[in-house]
Every structure is written in C-alpha cells, then in structure tokens.
C-alpha cells in the first residue's frame, strides 16, 4: 500500500493524473465526492477525527469501495489529491505538517447566513481559501468543488464533450496542481474552468451567480470574466 501510494504520488507529479484521493470529512460532501470518485475509478481514502474503526461501517455502507483511515496516520493526506470536506470553522483542526507539499482541493465555504459568523473570515478581506492556504503553509491549495450541491455532484455529471455538460471552476496559484485538479474534475463528469489565481476564487464563493447556479463551461467563463474587474478592485 505505502509503496504503491508513493508510486502514484510520483506519477501524479509527472503525469498530471491522480490515482489516490484522500478525503477529509465524511459528511454530505465527503461521502458524495467519495462515491463519485470511486465511480470514476479512483482509489479513495476517507478520514475524520473519529478512529478509522469507527468509520469502517460508515465507509462500507455509504461509500463502498473506499477505505477508512485514521486521520492521525496521515494516510489520507498522503494521497495524490486531498480534498478538504470539513466544516470551514474547523480548519484549524487540520494538520499543516502532513499537508505540506500536497495538492489540496479546498471545497469549504464561508457562508455566514447558514453556518454563522466567524471572525477569522469576517475580519479578513481575503477569500476563505487564501486564509486556509496561509494556515496550511506549503500545501498547494486549489479552490474547487465548493459551488456544487453535494447531491448534484452525483446527479449532474455528464460525459466529456456534451454541450450541456456542467462546468466547475477552480482557482489556485500552482499551475501543476491545477492541472491535476482539472483532470480530476473532468473524470468526475464535469468541465473544469480555470478562474485564475487563488484570490480569483472570490468569483465563485457563496452568494455569487456562479455559486448559486449551474453553468456550462462557456457560461462559466463569461461569469468569471464579468467578475474580474470586481475582484481586481476588491
């Protein structure tokens, strides 16, 4: 297992394709994403703060094919691609050490009307993903998968090339990491649209047109374009 994951991490770095996906969080998003990734042929590891044994039944029944691992064992973090699917206000419970150098998709949202006001984000003009990236120090953070509802993730997927295929935006400062995430999004059944640097993720945060709607790649590109002067001014 460990030599295999070392190999696949290697291949991820060179070929822009991930084979192992580590998901932190087994809530609505974590489990829906796990099933969708399994369907696409990935190896999936799931960790929460509960012991792996306690999650074993959950994983067997709700995301069959995935493996429950202990969050302390760093096995989820040691995947080609790590997805953060935990409540944002718990981001400080993440372990920056084990995520350093990893490609990390931040699927978390700061959505005060639903989840409440948190000072870390309320008093910081940056996007929530930039705050998370700073905390994680050295992780290659890509913001994505945050603007699709958890159940839509398993219902809206379409084969590549279909004109009505739904698109998902991504933003990040590391081009290689973004390439890996783009191929992941594509295999999940969605077109990937690059919005630019991590700060440009503002265009698909909660309460934006992108966040609340469903769009094709062309529509999404237009909306990102439209948001650009706004993002630059902010």
């Amino acid at each position: 297992m460990s030599s295999q994951s070392a190999m696949s991490s290697q291949s991820a770095r060179t070929s822009q394709h991930a084979t192992t996906i580590g998901i932190l969080g087994a809530g609505r998003v974590g489990t829906a994403l796990a099933r969708q990734a399994l369907k696409a042929g990935y190896q999936v590891r799931i960790a929460t703060r509960q012991p792996a044994a306690e999650n074993a039944l959950l994983v067997d029944i709700v995301t069959p094919g995935a493996v429950a691992v202990a969050v302390q064992s760093s096995q989820a973090a040691a995947s080609d691609l790590v997805v953060l699917a935990i409540p944002l206000h718990k981001y400080r419970t993440l372990n920056p050490g084990e995520l350093a150098g990893r490609i990390v998709i931040d699927a978390m949202n700061y959505w005060a009307p639903v989840d409440g006001v948190f000072d870390d984000f309320e008093s910081d003009p940056r996007t929530s993903s930039e705050v998370v990236e700073e905390f994680l120090q050295g992780a290659r953070v890509v913001k994505s998968l945050n603007h699709i509802g958890y159940h839509e993730l398993e219902e809206d997927d379409k084969p590549a090339g279909m004109p009505t295929r739904r698109a998902l935006a991504l933003a990040g400062d590391d081009a290689q990491a973004k390439a890996v995430v783009e191929s992941f999004i594509d295999r999940l059944g969605y077109d990937a649209v690059d919005a630019g640097f991590l700060a440009a993720g503002r265009s698909f945060e909660p309460a934006t047109e992108i966040f609340t709607g469903s769009h094709t790649a062309n529509q999404l590109r237009a909306l990102i374009q439209k948001a650009r002067p706004l993002a630059a001014a902010a």
Binding site: A26, G27, R28, T31, T48, Q50, E54, L57, L58, I61, V62, H89, W111, P113, V114, D115, G116, V117, F118, G149, H151, E154, E155, P206, A207, T208, E209, F211, T212, G213
Partner: protein
C-alpha cells in the same frame, strides 16, 4: 423494517400575507398552527411536529408551549417537536415542558426531537458561541437523555455547557416513565451512525435531492445500532419532507407554488440566491424528487415507494410556508388523514 406507516404533518408556523405582500401578525400564525393541530387530531392524522424557528415568516419559536396547549385540545394525535434546537436551549426546561404536556395529554402522546437546527439564528438570540456548536449539542443531548432515563425525579449530571445538577429534583416525570426522544438530521452519514450507536430513533429531514438516496444512510443507522447492541422498538426512522395534498395534483402544485416563491425570495435575500425559477420548483414535484405535492393517490404511492427504500415508520409533510392560505393547509391535512393514510395502509398491505 416497519410495515406500518404513520402519516403526519409538521410546521414552523407560517405568517399569512396581506394582499399587498406585507406580513400579517405572528400571533395569528401561532393561532393558525394551533387550529391546524386540533383539526388534524379530529381528522385522524397520526402525528404533528412543530419545529423551532425564530423568524417573522416562521414564528413557531416555542414548540413546548404550542404542544402543551394542543395536548389539552386533542385526544389521539401524537405531538412532537420537529425539532427542538437543543444546543442553545436548556435541556432541563425542554424536558420539563414536554413532560408537562405529556401529563396534560394523559400520557404517551408527546415526543421530543433533538436537532441542531438548519440555521444558526438561535446562537446570537440566546447568547451562544458558534464555535461551541458541537460541544453544546453533545453535552445537552447527554443531559436530555440523562433526565429522560432517570428512574426518579432526583437527577445528577455534570458538564460544562450548563451548570451541573447535583442530586436535584426535576419534575414532573413523564406519565409512562420516559418520553420518546428522537435525533433529527438532514442526512449526514456520521450523524446517522451516531444515532445508531446511541440507540435513538432517527428523524430525517429531506428537503432536496432524491429521498431514496437516503437508503444507505438508514442502513448505516440500523447497522450501527445493531453493532452497538441496540435492538427493539427504539430503532426506527421517520421522514419529514415538503409536501401538500389537494384534490388534484394540478391544484396541489399551484397552491404550494406562491409560498415556495416567497420562501425562496426571503432565503435568497439572506443567502444570496438568485430569483427562484418556476422550472426548479416543477423539477421537484414529481417522483422520485423531493416535494410530495399531489393528489392523494400520487402522494400515497410516493410515500409507499420511499418506504421500500427507507423502511420508515412515519412520514410527515410540511406545506405551509411563505403564506400558504390556512384553508389550503387544513384541506391538505384532511386529505392526508382521510385519503392518503388509508391508501398507504392498503398499498403496504398489498406489498
């Protein structure tokens, strides 16, 4: 899996609107809700749930008070919270209010459903920190269960979310010794597993998506209960969905639509959603989607079909939001009790 299905309704209170769209009084909404419960009891509905909400459009802030009043005015219907936001309330008071209602009802008709709530408005209102969300919920649920399981009035509990209780009397005791206490969840796997491990009945609120997709969660709940050694009557699932019944499907769809628009406009203002589209409403009103809106045949068939996936023992609907005219709520309740319920029973027996 259960093979009987209780049919019910639930409400958060629904403030009526004037012709110009302005809100009528929240007091009227509470009186309407009370009247609807009394009506449901007479019509023969099995269950009525009252959710704790603290907004002008949904003002049922005090389920315990409404349930106590309804307990006195009804004879057969089961009454419960749907849900009580336990993390920001005092479990001692919640337990006492529901035990009081239980005494008034004659015993055995009053239930508590403990939930986290889908919005966070109770945190600033009652002066709690959102960062303590998980800890508050866990400790207060523990206290509520301790109170309920106590053999006598005299209770001891210690924790940090609330002052400890050193051998103090908590009265009254429920007529039958304890009250049914349910856990409410919007359908996360960890919550399902946790409820199973605790051996508590589980109330799913399914407000979007395809309800049959909750099947693995219900299975996880049952397996978790089994693994922890919990079997028997307490291991059961209920389902709450949006829904409204009218003589025809067309009428049901048209009756619920304006309220749905109002609700979504209000939520949209709060949460930055775009203007609600009729298309997204219509996409939800047919099987296998989330809204149980239709004529008695349609709704009964869909409830029984969902039962094949979830094996739930109770299904209850909320149709009154955004200012649904009271007469439409009452007619839906009548049809649920007199038309949907017998059909469900027949369809289940035929399975």
């Amino acid at each position: 899996m259960e093979n009987t299905l209780q049919i019910g309704a639930y409400s958060f209170g629904d403030t009526q609107l004037n012709p110009d769209g302005s809100a009528r009084s929240t007091a009227e909404a509470i009186k309407n809700l009370f009247d609807a419960i009394v009506h449901a009891d007479k019509a023969g509905l099995d269950y009525f749930g009252i959710g704790e909400h603290h907004t002008i459009s949904m003002p049922a802030s005090s389920p315990g008070a409404i349930i106590a009043a309804a307990a006195a005015a009804t004879t057969q219907i089961k009454l419960g919270s749907a849900a009580s936001i336990i993390g920001t309330d005092d479990p001692v008071r919640v337990f006492q209010q529901f035990a009081t209602a239980d005494a008034i009802s004659g015993g055995g008709r009053i239930e508590i459903t403990a939930g986290r709530g889908s919005s966070v408005e109770t945190f600033p209102l009652f002066g709690y920190e959102l960062g303590d969300y998980d800890e508050l919920y866990a400790q207060k649920l523990d206290l509520l269960l301790t109170l309920n399981a106590s053999a006598t009035e005299n209770v001891t509990w210690s924790g940090t979310a609330r002052p400890s209780i050193p051998q103090l009397d908590v009265v009254p005791r429920p007529v039958q010794g304890s009250l049914p206490i349910w856990i409410a969840t919007g359908g996360s796997a960890p919550s399902s597993a946790r409820a199973g491990r605790l051996g508590l009945p589980l109330a799913y609120a399914i407000i979007g998506g395809q309800p049959h997709r909750f099947a693995p969660l219900a299975n996880l709940y049952r397996q978790s209960a089994k693994q922890a050694g919990h079997t028997g009557d307490n291991i059961k699932v209920s389902v709450a969905t949006f829904g409204l019944v009218a003589p025809t499907k067309k009428e049901a769809v048209e009756r619920m639509y304006p309220g749905w628009v109002n609700l979504n406009v209000e939520m949209g203002r709060l949460r930055g959603w775009p203007a609600p589209q009729r298309g997204s409403y219509l996409a939800q009103v047919d099987a296998p989607n989330a809204y149980f809106i239709g004529d008695p045949d349609d709704v009964a068939e869909r409830i029984v079909d969902l039962h094949r996936h979830l094996g739930h023992m109770r299904h209850f609907l909320q149709g009154d939001h955004g200012g649904l005219p009271q007469e439409h709520l009452l007619e839906s309740i009548t049809l649920l009790a007199t038309e949907v319920k017998p059909r469900v029973k027949r369809l289940l027996a035929a399975k």
